[in-house]
């Protein structure tokens, strides 16, 4: 189909940071009150823009949202479909619970291979819960694909993908041939909201469920069993509390310096 693209967007279902988040007695994160990770709206928007610029679904472009997670993670896919993804894939299996980055990237890599002939895998720069940023790089390594990560811009020109990557002190242009794994920052675009039409259209879109058996991964390779890290303890830190608050009466700058001196900070 000429220059049409098959794009997999990785979306994670994460606890909503607007509420208090908890790590339970089993040292795992309480995943009730979860949403589509805010930072995964950016890769979805980037994928939709690439697809639309090439004539959208009618011209053979595909935007597939892929999540790995428990039954509720389907809600992240529903949101992605409302925003505009064409279809959803839900990798779910009890054995996946407790996966670390190594196990997550192993399972996602197998799921992506299972989907076949993908041109671009686009992820967020980090999840908003684990926040490790390990998964996109590990996917590139496991899939043997070029890595174009932390992109603040992304263009695809024929079979070449080009990004801007901003580092400390310098900004780089990085290029690779498709297929490639990309991750994007919140600088790349302004994600759209689902509109009424999108919400209606989403009802007709399909979510496919994949099990570990279907993607050819053994239960022992993932979840707590297949993870290469172990959490020994997770203790809540006492919440920061408000200290003294004063109102400026013309001498607050001096009072600030008094405070710094009392704290031995100057």
């Amino acid at each position: 189909m000429g220059d049409s693209l098959k794009i997999v967007v990785l979306v994670k279902h994460v606890p909503d940071a607007q509420f208090d988040r908890h790590i339970g007695a089993e040292r795992t994160l309480d995943r009730s009150e979860s949403i589509l990770s805010e930072l995964d709206e950016y890769p979805l928007e980037a994928a939709l823009q690439l697809s639309e610029a090439r004539g959208g679904e009618k011209a053979g472009n595909e935007v597939i949202a892929l999540t790995m997670g428990g039954p509720d993670a389907a809600n992240a896919l529903k949101k992605a479909l409302q925003i505009g993804a064409g279809s959803g894939v839900h990798l779910t299996d009890e054995a996946l619970a407790g996966s670390d980055a190594a196990a997550t990237s192993l399972a996602l890599a197998a799921a992506i291979r299972h989907l076949g002939d993908v041109d671009l895998v686009i992820a967020g720069m980090a999840s908003t819960d684990g926040e490790t940023s390990l998964v996109p790089a590990q996917l590139a390594e496991r899939l043997g694909l070029p890595q174009l990560t932390f992109a603040s811009s992304l263009e695809v020109d024929g079979r070449t993908a080009r990004i801007q990557r901003d580092g400390d002190g310098h900004s780089e242009t990085v290029e690779a041939a498709l297929p490639a794994v990309v991750s994007v920052t919140d600088q790349i675009n302004e994600p759209r909201y689902p509109n009424f039409k999108g919400i209606l259209a989403a009802k007709k879109k399909k979510i496919r469920t994949l099990s570990l058996a279907e993607i050819g991964v053994d239960a022992g390779q993932v979840g707590a069993a297949g993870s290469l890290t172990w959490v020994a303890s997770a203790e809540p830190r006492p919440a920061r509390t408000a200290g003294t608050v004063i109102t400026d009466e013309g001498d607050a700058g001096v009072k600030l310096v008094d405070f710094l001196a009392a704290q031995k900070l100057i």
Binding site: E141, T149, S171, T229, W230, L256
Partner: protein, 320 residues
């Protein structure tokens, strides 16, 4: 080499290593005797620093410039360095995006577990990290023979080693095929340097937000009086008032300085995520209802254009 080797991965410095890089060597020494893997050429002065900080060997890439590619080839080379060094118990890297990504890929090659955002290390390899915007303190371990750790700045003191290392120069070839599927850097623009301390390493950070209305003068002057770094909210960075390199928060830098002064910043959850673990927080905001006051040790309801210049002048007066 003993079975207690810790490989510390460092970006090649233009001249000498930064404090934050020397901290990584100190972090590595908690776990064993250190060797350095430097991703480019090492000057004599830099090699002397590595010796002083205990590096037994200094591995450098031979045959290719890793800087021309994004991360993948670096990870492939590091895997070969781990094999060459022998008996490597842990690999310690910087907690920057590139550091985490090299860690990620190296770990896949080694079949190793990675712990990111490490703020403390115990001798048995247990790493501490602060998670969920500073609301939990987690202790975690890699269960594999080699542990890969990315360590945050200001986590350990960059003290020299008790006994200097030989810092023996050891070139290791960049493996054939490392570049086969690599993404290539085709352009690079340098940004101007500020002369202020590196944001994530600074003892003091003074940050400005939308309340500065584009005038960072009072922020910069207070930062300079305190020998600190300048930071910003996303609103200020998005407005183009300062470089995005200075953005603090969920999608910017995470800082844990001794002192964080927030001025004209409301304290949104994404901003707090990047500064909540500061030792002392001071907030200056004209709105008494601003959420930043909920986490400030010392809050001033006032106009930053009055309060900051007065504080700067007072600091200078007391020093004079």
């Amino acid at each position: 080499m003993t079975a207690e080797t810790v490989l510390v991965v460092l970006d090649a410095p233009a001249e000498t290593f930064r404090k934050g890089q020397l901290e990584l060597l100190a972090a590595g020494r908690i776990l064993g005797s250190v060797s350095a893997a430097v991703t480019g050429p090492v000057s004599e002065a830099a090699r002397a620093q590595l010796a002083e900080h205990g590096a037994a060997a200094v591995y450098t890439p031979d045959g290719a410039d890793l800087g021309e590619y994004l991360v993948g080839p670096t990870a492939a080379w590091l895997a070969d360095v781990v094999a060459t060094a022998g008996g490597v118990r842990a690999v310690v890297l910087e907690n920057s995006p590139a550091g985490k990504e090299a860690a990620a890929r190296l770990a896949v090659r080694l079949g190793a577990g990675v712990i990111t955002d490490v703020v403390a290390i115990e001798a048995d390899g247990t790493a501490h990290k602060s998670v969920l915007a500073g609301s939990y303190e987690v202790r975690a371990r890699a269960t594999t023979g080699v542990a890969v750790l990315t360590v945050k700045p200001n986590s350990v003191e960059a003290t020299p080693a008790n006994a200097p290392g030989a810092a023996e120069a050891t070139p290791v070839r960049v493996p054939e095929g490392a570049f086969a599927t690599a993404a290539r850097v085709t352009g690079r623009t340098e940004k101007p340097v500020s002369g202020r301390p590196e944001l994530t390493e600074a003892r003091v950070v003074v940050a400005g937000g939308r309340g500065t209305d584009g005038d960072f003068g009072p922020i910069e002057e207070l930062a300079d009086a305190l020998g600190g770094a300048v930071g910003a909210s996303r609103a200020a960075a998005d407005a183009g008032w300062v470089s995005h390199d200075l953005q603090i928060g969920q999608t910017g830098k995470t800082v844990s300085p001794q002192l964080y002064i927030s001025a004209g910043i409301s304290g949104a959850i994404q901003q707090k995520a990047g500064m909540q673990t500061a030792k002392v927080i001071v907030a200056v905001n004209s709105d008494p209802e601003s959420p930043v006051f909920e986490i400030a040790d010392f809050g001033i309801v006032g106009d930053l254009f009055d309060v900051l210049p007065q504080a700067t002048a007072e600091i200078k007066r007391r020093r004079a």
